[in-house]
């Protein structure tokens, strides 16, 4: 995973609530392993049916075409678990989404790909949203300091637990870390298998013989 230490960018305002992952990337852009997810980012808002850009859509306008930070409303990333939504944002260049809140699955997918989801309480969110809408607001997000630095020099703190912070800063491979805990896992599995052997002795009987029940 590409580490995230700081990001300085203009903040693109997409101030809608409940931006779902079908909106972030429609399923039609998931029909080939070769498709670049970034081409599908917000496809229905970004492109007309003929493929030309929708002029008023924020990411089609200057200076937001190269924005690395997005600010949205409540419950961002709800719906489908498709990680393509995060890949699409990352492929476009977004490194951080600021919102009132995130869906649990999107948030997890984001961290896994070095995309920082910042959930802000109402007042702090409203101030940033207003500023980002009024003019091209350029901020610096500092993962180590856990704050957003505004042009005025003022900083807005955000929550980020130490474990995820460390992973964002280092880009460490989580699977390698888990595999390194092999002995602990094996010990657990042995004890668990003794308590619940039916979860480990996996063998099917004839599935098709079973009568349908409701």
């Amino acid at each position: 995973m590409e580490p995230l230490v700081t990001v300085t960018s203009v903040v693109a305002p997409l101030l809608r609530d409940n931006v779902d992952t079908d909106a972030i990337i429609p399923a039609a852009y998931m029909r080939s392993l070769a498709t670049d997810p970034a081409t599908g980012l917000f496809a229905r808002w970004r492109y007309r049916p003929d493929g030309s850009p929708v002029p008023g859509f924020v990411l089609n306008t200057l200076p937001f075409r190269s924005a690395q930070i997005l600010i949205a409303g409540e419950n961002f990333g709800c719906g489908s678990s498709r990680e393509n939504a995060v890949w699409a944002l990352r492929g476009f260049g977004i490194r951080c989404v600021i919102a009132r809140g995130f869906s649990d699955i999107f948030r997890e997918n984001a961290y896994k790909n070095g995309l920082l989801p910042i959930a802000l309480p109402a007042l702090r969110h409203a101030r940033l949203a207003t500023a980002a809408t009024r003019c091209a607001l350029r901020v610096t997000i500092d993962v180590a300091a856990r704050h957003i630095a505004l042009p005025s020099g003022e900083t807005v703190p955000f929550d980020l637990d130490a474990r995820r912070q460390a992973r964002l800063l280092s880009g460490a491979d989580e699977i390698a870390e888990t595999l390194a805990a092999h002995a602990t896992i094996e010990r657990f599995r042995a004890a668990h298998a003794a308590r619940a052997p039916w979860l480990y002795a996996v063998e099917a009987t004839d599935a098709t013989a079973h009568p349908q029940q409701t």
């Binding site: 779902d20 997918n109 668990h192």
Partner: protein
């Protein structure tokens, strides 16, 4: 200390406490489908890793596979590479695949239930947000992204932030023509699409206790629409009866030992929940969505809410939703003409759903100009329905009778609602474009769906008699 069922399931699978309120959990069953697993297998192989526990991993083809009768890998060309890649991955890693043509193939959450893969007190993950469907068995079952699929493949574990326990207590007897889908839509209407964010939901109360397994699955299925990754029901005699003799359920002495454990799986009477939501459903009517989030729900005989009745922060979204759906504020939904009716998806494609739908469809005809599909959730459901003659009922009424799969739920395969067309769907999401660009989705029960197909308009099933 009194414990919730969630606390019990969590601590029983907790390998290690990590920082940040996160636990490393043992995964008992991993269910894999062709779309969300593809990139996970690619990355796994690129890093030279093996599948840690192939015997606890199970696969099927459902999302992008066509549901046309007589389908092959190539019926929907966009899906072919995913279908073949999953086959190759399962073959290479020793994973049991319920492939195209297998009598147990089906939508992940439907076939996993039928096979007895989700057992009370187990952990089940799948790269699909509706995995909480299997929480109906008293399992901790949740949907994950592709990186998490890769993590589970490589380690048979998953690091997970511990959610807070939330109980939703549902009381009352359901009226005729009111079914579990109406209950979960009613819950969404009352509590909204963020009620469950950061929470694990235990559904309780007399209504839930009276439901058969398939109805409980319908309710748990839409936990994610409330924002919750986890939703479950404590196991009871209904659960045990369903599981007895299932392919992967324990047998003999192992069954007796499992049953003794399963009977302990409940929340203590004085357990503390972070939040409690109560709903009385005794006067609940058939429910239907009018807008573009699954919380935009009304009684079928109600008008579309007027702007003034909504809180101010909803006003922008409301105008967008009304325009997208082609509705006017205050209009009655009932009587609005319908183009497509879809009966299927992991929410409502099990045998009880099809039986209920067929009861209303028998002797009636789909209105001219309406395209209506019935897509069984699994090949086993399809065959069972055919043994009962349900396929003949649907065909005679003018419904298409399909092979098993996700079909028109998500517009990733060859079943797509045309732009601007209005679809009454038994699936779980009414987002803009969910069923195709410009598609207008109304979520409802299988009974309401049949009533709409027959009337050619949005219609109340209780008026069909």
């Amino acid at each position: 200390m009194p414990l919730t069922l969630f606390d019990r399931l969590w601590s029983d699978h907790l390998i290690a406490d990590l920082d940040g309120g996160t636990g490393l959990l043992q995964v008992d069953r991993h269910v894999v489908h062709e779309v969300s697993s593809a990139e996970a297998f690619r990355k796994l192989e690129r890093s030279g890793r093996a599948v840690a526990s192939p015997q606890q991993t199970f696969a099927t083809q459902d999302h992008i596979l066509s549901t046309q009768v007589g389908r092959t890998d190539a019926t929907f060309p966009g899906g072919t590479e995913f279908v073949r890649f999953l086959r190759r991955n399962c073959d290479r890693h020793g994973i049991r695949l319920y492939d195209v043509g297998d009598p147990q193939q089906g939508i992940v959450h439907v076939m996993a239930a039928e096979l007895g893969l989700a057992l009370p007190g187990s952990t089940v993950v799948c790269g699909d947000s509706h995995t909480a469907t299997l929480g109906a068995f008293g399992a901790l079952a949740w949907g994950v992204g592709t990186s998490e699929v890769e993590h589970v493949l490589a380690t048979q574990t998953l690091a997970q932030v511990k959610p807070l326990p939330l109980q939703i207590r549902v009381e009352g007897r359901l009226a005729r023509h009111v079914v579990p889908k109406d209950v979960i839509l009613g819950i969404l209407k009352h509590f909204g699409v963020t009620a469950g964010v950061g929470h694990a939901i235990e559904y309780r109360g007399s209504t839930i206790a009276a439901l058969p397994m398939e109805g409980r699955m319908t309710i748990c299925n839409m936990s994610i629409e409330l924002g919750a990754r986890f939703g479950f029901v404590a196991p009871d005699a209904t659960t045990f009866d369903y599981l007895h003799d299932r392919a992967y359920a324990p047998r003999g002495a192992a069954w007796d030992a499992a049953l003794a454990h399963w009977r302990t799986l409940r929340s203590d009477d004085d357990a503390a929940f972070a939040r409690t939501l109560d709903l009385d459903v005794s006067a609940l009517k058939p429910q239907i969505t009018w807008g573009t989030t699954p919380g935009d729900v009304i009684d079928i005989d109600e008008p579309v809410p007027a702007l003034a009745s909504l809180p101010e922060h909803r006003h922008d979204a409301y105008a967008d939703a009304i325009a997208y759906m082609g509705l006017t504020p205050g209009q009655r939904l009932e009587g609005t003409s319908v183009d497509v009716v879809f009966i299927g998806s992991c929410t409502n494609s099990r045998l009880s759903d099809l039986r209920a739908a067929a009861t209303l469809a028998r002797g009636r005809t789909v209105a001219p100009g309406v395209r209506a599909l019935v897509v069984p959730g699994s090949t086993a459901v399809r065959r069972a329905a055919e043994r009962e003659g349900l396929d003949a009922v649907f065909r005679a009424a003018g419904f298409e009778w399909r092979e098993a799969g996700c079909s028109m739920c998500l517009a990733i395969n060859d079943d797509v609602v045309p732009p601007g067309a209005r679809c009454v769907s038994t699936s779980n999401r009414n987002f803009e474009g969910r069923q195709g660009p410009g598609a207008r989705t109304h979520l409802a029960s299988p009974l309401t769906a049949v009533a709409c197909a027959v009337a050619g308009r949005i219609a109340d099933p209780s008026r069909l008699g």
